[in-house]
């Protein structure tokens, strides 16, 4: 059976990884993207061809003209260009979908005269606060069964600024792994900024929509997925004015792109009885500080990569580069 999946933020970093991964099972997932742009890694738009707009909303209003450029993507799925802060556009995109993977965040135009902080807050408000509400509400109206909500490991970031975890992420490791308690998804939040606080909002909405409207909502707190796909890359802190965290932190929280994609796929495949849960992403990192056992137990998450495999790899050695695509490409 094919699951119809809408991926918001499909052209982003995680969106592209998810898109590549899920595209390898065309008989299992029928993908539609929703993004400000077309996803990278996906085949380019068919020349001059525009697929028909998705079903109009129940209110009978069609999508605005700018949002109807659904582009056929080499038989893999469609990408609808639009902004999650536009309810009608989101409503049209979710119609007929079985599941929504909501990755779209922190995007969209801002007032050019805004300071970096103001601009960031505008983006958060429009895409993460209003946009995430739009996605849940549209999903409810359309009868979508499951929403996978991309949260962030930054919702508990500030536990990592204090002992004992501060030492671990600085690379001052205790003798053996396990000598400290990892952050669990049930802990009270300590967000890194308003971006992370807006993800707390999304998780709270997910809890509510699951309890009240029966939608299955699975939250993934993504941790340090990066474009070069290596822990040798500093973990970007998304808040303006904050410097990037040291590389050491990445060895504790890095998630390879394929491990991130695996987690999304497992959430899509989880039994319908799983109505709400929250998982940290993470590769199999020796000095991890965020719990990934819960994902292993509940979903069978088995990360394929490990940050330690990238440490002090000899120049030109075989361990330095993580393959962009894992077993996914060999699957039939």
């Amino acid at each position: 059976m094919t699951t119809k999946v809408l991926v918001t933020g499909a052209s982003g970093l995680i969106g592209s990884a998810v898109w590549r991964n899920l595209s390898d099972w065309p008989d299992r997932y029928a993908l539609t993207g929703f993004d400000l742009r077309a996803p990278e890694g996906a085949a380019g738009p068919a020349h001059g061809k525009t697929s028909p707009s998705p079903s109009p909303s129940p209110a009978g209003r069609g999508l605005a003209a700018t949002h109807t450029r659904a582009l056929a993507l080499a038989g893999r799925g469609n990408v609808i260009t639009g902004n999650v802060d536009d309810f009608e556009a989101v409503r049209g995109a979710v119609e007929g979908q079985d599941a929504v993977v909501h990755l779209g965040a922190n995007g969209g135009p801002v007032d050019p005269s805004a300071t970096p902080e103001q601009a960031q807050w505008q983006r958060i408000l429009n895409s993460n606060i209003i946009g995430t509400y739009n996605v849940f509400e549209a999903a409810r109206q359309a009868g979508v069964k499951r929403v996978i909500f991309a949260s962030t490991g930054q919702v508990t970031w500030n536990y990592e600024q204090e002992p004992p975890l501060a030492q671990v992420i600085e690379g001052k490791y205790p003798g053996q792994p396990g000598g400290y308690r990892k952050i669990e998804h049930t802990w009270p939040v300590r967000p890194s900024g308003l971006y992370a606080a807006s993800k707390v909002w999304g998780e709270a909405l997910g809890r509510y929509y699951s309890d009240v409207h029966g939608i299955s909502v699975l939250c993934i707190r993504f941790s340090a997925v990066n474009r070069p796909d290596t822990p040798l890359h500093p973990t970007a802190n998304i808040n303006p004015g904050d410097v990037d965290a040291p590389v050491g932190r990445s060895f504790s929280i890095w998630t390879s792109q394929r491990d991130a994609a695996q987690l999304v796929r497992l959430c899509l495949d989880a039994p319908p009885s799983l109505k709400f849960d929250t998982f940290y992403s993470g590769s199999d990192n020796r000095w991890g500080v965020r719990d990934t056992e819960h994902a292993r137990k509940v979903l069978g998450y088995e990360p394929e990569d490990s940050a330690e495999d990238h440490r002090a790899a000899p120049a030109g050695g075989t361990m330095s580069a993580s393959p962009r695509r894992g077993r996914a490409q060999h699957a039939t």
């Binding site: 500030n158 802990w187 009270p188 300590r190 606080a197 807006s198 909002w201 709270a204 509510y208 009240v212």
Partner: protein, 297 residues
């Protein structure tokens, strides 16, 4: 005598604002930030959704008591919850931080947790419905921790348990707490959150489901006072404010331990049978958000 603490009250025209002005108006130098003028104290008239407009109200203020939120009639209105409760709170925190305010006392709500009443087999749901025998007979839930010495058969939940909002209002308050946590961690501004129980205009429960979470008006005032007076070294916390009701399921021991707050009233003084009859008379429509299907009252 030291000068009175300058306390700015947002949403001062509401029920809690009125109680604070009446009972704490002598103790603190109160001012208001409100859309409508507020009787008896100086007031900057502005909407918390407008950061620019509210800034002047914060000048020289020591503590902000942030009560303003979209409440009556708007509990389930996502637009107003986003505009007023969520964005308004970020604006208040930002204006306070910019003005060098030492503390924001943020009025959160028990609605951040009342979703726990909604799963099948929940003793909390049975308590909300007044099915006390059933609640007593239920096995303790795996969630939560019951403090030593508490003999309630169900496990008490606290601010350490994951939030479970029962409404858009509750979800917006979860966000407000998270934003407050960050302003505290980032800027060192003290942010104390009160998860307020059911405070009622008549000071009496109107529905049977008010009994577990009922909060006496004076207990509420004393909680506000305890938060304003707490030592400045207390940078962030969340306190459950509920009177000492025997049917309560949220842990109130944390507030006693940290700021010495102890409720003096209990909803045990009210007869549940009268409330059951009242609920039957159709009062359910007047108070609280619409209930999901399986939560029959």
């Amino acid at each position: 005598m030291p000068p009175k603490k300058k306390v700015l009250v947002t949403g001062a025209s509401g029920l809690i604002g009125g109680l604070v002005i009446k009972h704490l108006g002598q103790k603190y130098d109160l001012s208001a930030l409100n859309r409508r003028p507020v009787k008896g104290i100086p007031c900057v008239q502005a909407d918390v959704a407008d950061l620019k407009a509210i800034r002047p109200a914060f000048k020289g203020v020591h503590t902000v008591l942030h009560l303003s939120a979209a409440t009556h009639g708007f509990i389930d209105d996502w637009d107003e919850q986003i505009r007023v409760t969520a964005v308004g709170t970020v604006n208040v925190l930002r204006a306070a931080q910019e003005a060098g305010v030492k503390r924001v006392v943020f009025m959160s709500t028990g609605s951040t947790m009342c979703g726990y009443e909604w799963y099948e087999g929940s003793p909390y749901g049975a308590l909300a419905r007044g099915e006390y025998d059933r609640a007593m007979a239920m096995a303790p839930n795996a969630a939560g921790t019951t403090p030593a010495g508490d003999n309630r058969p169900w496990q008490l939940l606290s601010h350490r348990d994951p939030p479970r909002p029962d409404s858009p209002y509750g979800a917006a308050k979860v966000f407000g707490e998270a934003a407050g946590r960050w302003f505290s961690d980032k800027y060192g501004m003290s942010v104390l959150c009160i998860r307020l129980g059911a405070v009622l205009d008549t000071n009496k429960p109107k529905l049977i489901r008010h009994l577990p979470g009922w909060l006496d008006q004076m207990d509420a005032v004393r909680m506000v006072e305890a938060c304003i007076d707490a030592p400045e070294s207390l940078k962030f916390d969340i306190f459950d404010a509920i009177s000492d009701n025997s049917t309560r399921w949220r842990d109130i021991s944390h507030a006693e331990k940290i700021i010495g707050w102890k409720p003096q009233a209990a909803s045990d003084q009210f007869n549940p049978e009268e409330l059951r009859a009242a609920a039957g008379a159709g009062q359910a429509k007047k108070v609280g958000p619409p209930l999901p299907r399986w939560r029959k009252l």
